[in-house]
Every structure is written in C-alpha cells, then in structure tokens.
C-alpha cells in the first residue's frame, strides 16, 4: 500500500496512482480514468475525465507536472479534481460547468521525472529518456513539441536542462499527449498547463514576438483571471505572451496546442516568486491551490460562454 494520500501534502507517484483509482470508485458517474500511453520507463500516463459521459460536449484539457521538480503543479491537478467532484451539486459555478462541459486532467505529465525527483534527485527537471552518444539523461518535454522546434540558439547538448530531444515529439510522453489532444480536438476548446514558479499567467506565443490573432481576447481573459486569483490572498500575478513576459521559447506545449486550433491556451506559473522556488513548503499548497482554482474556474466559465 502506498500510504495515505493528502491534498495538503506532496504525494509520491504511487500515492497519486492509488488516488486516481479511488476517485473513479468514489465518483463513477463523474470521473473516469483513461490510459493515454506509457512512459519510457513503462509507467502509465493517466488522464482523468471529469464530467458526464457525453463526448460531444465542450472540454478543457489541463496538464500538470511537465517539469519534474515543479511539485506544486501536480498538487494543483489533484486539488482541482477533488474540488470539482466535491463541490458539484453544491457550488453553482462548478455545477454549471460540469453539467455542460468536461475536463481532461493529466495529473502528472512527466511521470518518470517526477518519480526520479522523489527518489533520487529533488531538483530533476527533464524526463528520463536515454540519449544516443551521451551519458546525460532526459529531454525537456516542454521543448519537445512540434512547433518551431529547436528554432532558437538553444542547445543540442543532452546534458543541458532545456535539451529539446533529438527531434520533435521524440518522447513517448509528448506523443501520448499530442495524440490524445488531436483525437479529441473537436471538443477541446481550451488548454491549460500548470507550472511553477514566478506567478504568471501566460499565453501564446513563445516562439515569436508576433501576437496571436485573438491576443486582445487572451489578454482580457488573463487580466481578469489574475485579478480573480488575487482576491483571496492578494497574490500578485503578471500576465502576457510568453515571449515578452518571460523570454522566447520554442517547442512549447502552449504554442503547439494554439497552432493546432485550440485558441484559448494558458500556462500558469504558480507560487512563489523566488523565496522557495521549486521548494514551496507544503503549508502553502492549500492556499496556492485555492487561489488558482478561482482563476481556472473563471477561464472555464469564459470558455463555456464564449466558444462555439
């Protein structure tokens, strides 16, 4: 037995797997578990589908834990699933959302890396794939998507933390996610990816300083999203396109999903602003998740109302 799962603590991969089973058993009408693939080390990649069985409804895809050491990210996905199921029928907004749309939640994207960060190296970022002609392990999954892949003078050195892989979608994890999103493209109206840290709400593009056609709309949603987030604990987030708000990146999941046709894509960089960095204490999990929940619910409400 993996031990007791807790929403107020960081959970190991074994606990998260057991938790996914528990959620399906507890809420069989609302939660189902889909295995979308496996990792290099043959761990399963699970997506939890939250909502009714109707496939034609609008949906939002959300992933957590693309970078192994960003532990607050998977904690949020677990929190989201728990809150969605717990407040359905009690909270007006959540009830409306789940009555009319589905959420696909990937609680841990980079499973092998997450396990490694628990057992061997807390500061691990990449996945755990082996690289040809190098002893260095891993690809940065958020540089591995097929969108302007490796376009910047990044690095082809597998020893670097931002190594984009030998080719786009070379990684099993990336391929599993892109296949899933492509096969559900008709219903997926928004893509949300959860990272840490630096307190930002980002949208495309990262690979160019050009702005997406619906930049004004994305800016408006991000502004209100960060305003809503700050109402609980006055946590200050900044927002904007990736390239100008952080720095230019290529091969990111956000840009890939946008160019595929999911025109509402957002990346959260959760707490904090640098005091703890990737080592946010467990005592801040609850407040971080609660405030983030407000912003995600706002985005979902917006998607429900403004997309066709």
């Amino acid at each position: 037995m993996p031990g007791r799962h807790s929403y107020a603590k960081y959970n190991s991969w074994d606990k998260i797997v057991a938790w996914t089973e528990k959620m399906v058993h507890k809420c069989p009408d609302m939660v189902s578990r889909i295995k979308i693939g496996t990792t290099v080390e043959d761990n399963p990649l699970y997506v939890l589908k939250i909502g009714k069985k109707d496939e034609r409804r609008k949906a939002i895809f959300m992933d957590c834990g693309i970078h192994a050491r960003e532990w607050i990210s998977p904690a949020f996905c677990q929190w989201f699933v728990y809150q969605a199921t717990k407040t359905y029928g009690k909270n007006k907004i959540m009830t409306k959302l789940l009555d009319q749309m589905n959420f696909y939640v990937l609680p841990v994207f980079n499973v092998d890396g997450y396990i490694w960060s628990w057992k061997q190296n807390r500061m691990w970022r990449k996945n755990r794939s082996k690289n040809q002609n190098s002893n260095c392990i891993g690809t940065d999954l958020n540089r591995n998507f097929n969108v302007s892949w490796n376009a910047f003078p990044t690095t082809k050195d597998p020893c670097k933390e931002t190594y984009p892989g030998p080719e786009p979608e070379s990684e099993k994890e990336t391929k599993a996610v892109t296949d899933f999103i492509q096969s559900h493209l008709k219903s997926i109206k928004a893509y949300i990816t959860i990272h840490s840290y630096s307190q930002m709400l980002l949208f495309p593009y990262g690979y160019t300083s050009e702005l997406p056609p619906n930049n004004e709309e994305l800016t408006k949603v991000a502004k209100i999203g960060t305003d809503v987030l700050s109402t609980l604990y006055e946590t200050h987030y900044i927002y904007g396109p990736i390239a100008s708000t952080i720095y230019p990146t290529s091969g990111s999941s956000l840009d890939w999903a946008y160019n595929l046709g999911v025109h509402h894509t957002f990346a959260f960089e959760l707490r904090d602003r640098g005091r703890f960095g990737f080592l946010l204490p467990e005592s801040q999990i609850k407040s971080t998740c609660k405030e983030t929940m407000l912003a995600v619910k706002f985005i979902a409400k917006y998607i429900l109302k403004h997309t066709s």
Binding site: N121, T155, E161, T162, I246, Y247, G277, S283
Partner: protein, 94 residues
C-alpha cells in the same frame, strides 16, 4: 544509488544592470555548473531580469568573488538547499 544531496548548495538572485553584467552571468555559466531556476537557461539572461540560479557549495565562493569583482549586487536566496528540501515537508500527517 543513494539520492543526491544538496548540502550547503546555494541559490543566488542577481539582477544584471546592463549587458556587461548579463554577460558575466552567461560566462559564469560556461565555466561553472549553474542550474538556472529562472530563466531556465543562461542564454535567456538579459539586462534587468531577475536571475535565480543554484550552485554547489564548492563553486559558490568563486561565483561570489566574480560577482563582487564585477560590482554586481546579489542576494543569496537559499544558503543550504538540502535544509530547504527537508523543510518543504512542513505539514504533519493527519
């Protein structure tokens, strides 16, 4: 394999004031093993950007000297990474 320990590893915060100072950090990254926390790679370091990076105990002295030499203001956000890693589990099982 024994888990990696981070005893006395440090996290520096530097805000380069001009291109020259940004280049100092980029150069340090070429000769030392810096793990960039923000931005996520040395090549993204730019003027007026808040840069956080992790460095081993062994290399931290020479990094500090280089920053001092170039009159760069810095802050040590984390003095002992291992201690902070252990402290992150600050919620008791209920």
């Amino acid at each position: 394999i024994a888990p990696v320990r981070f005893d006395r590893e440090k996290v520096f915060r530097v805000k380069p004031q001009d291109e020259n100072q940004a280049n100092v950090i980029k150069d340090l990254a070429k000769t030392n093993k810096l793990d960039f926390w923000y931005p996520d790679a040395g090549l993204h370091v730019a003027t007026n950007m808040t840069v956080d990076f992790q460095v081993s105990d062994k290399e931290s002295q020479s990094i500090q000297s280089a920053l001092d030499q170039n009159k760069m203001h810095y802050e040590i956000l984390i003095h002992d990474l291992q201690e902070v890693i252990e402290k992150q589990f600050d919620v008791k099982e209920d």
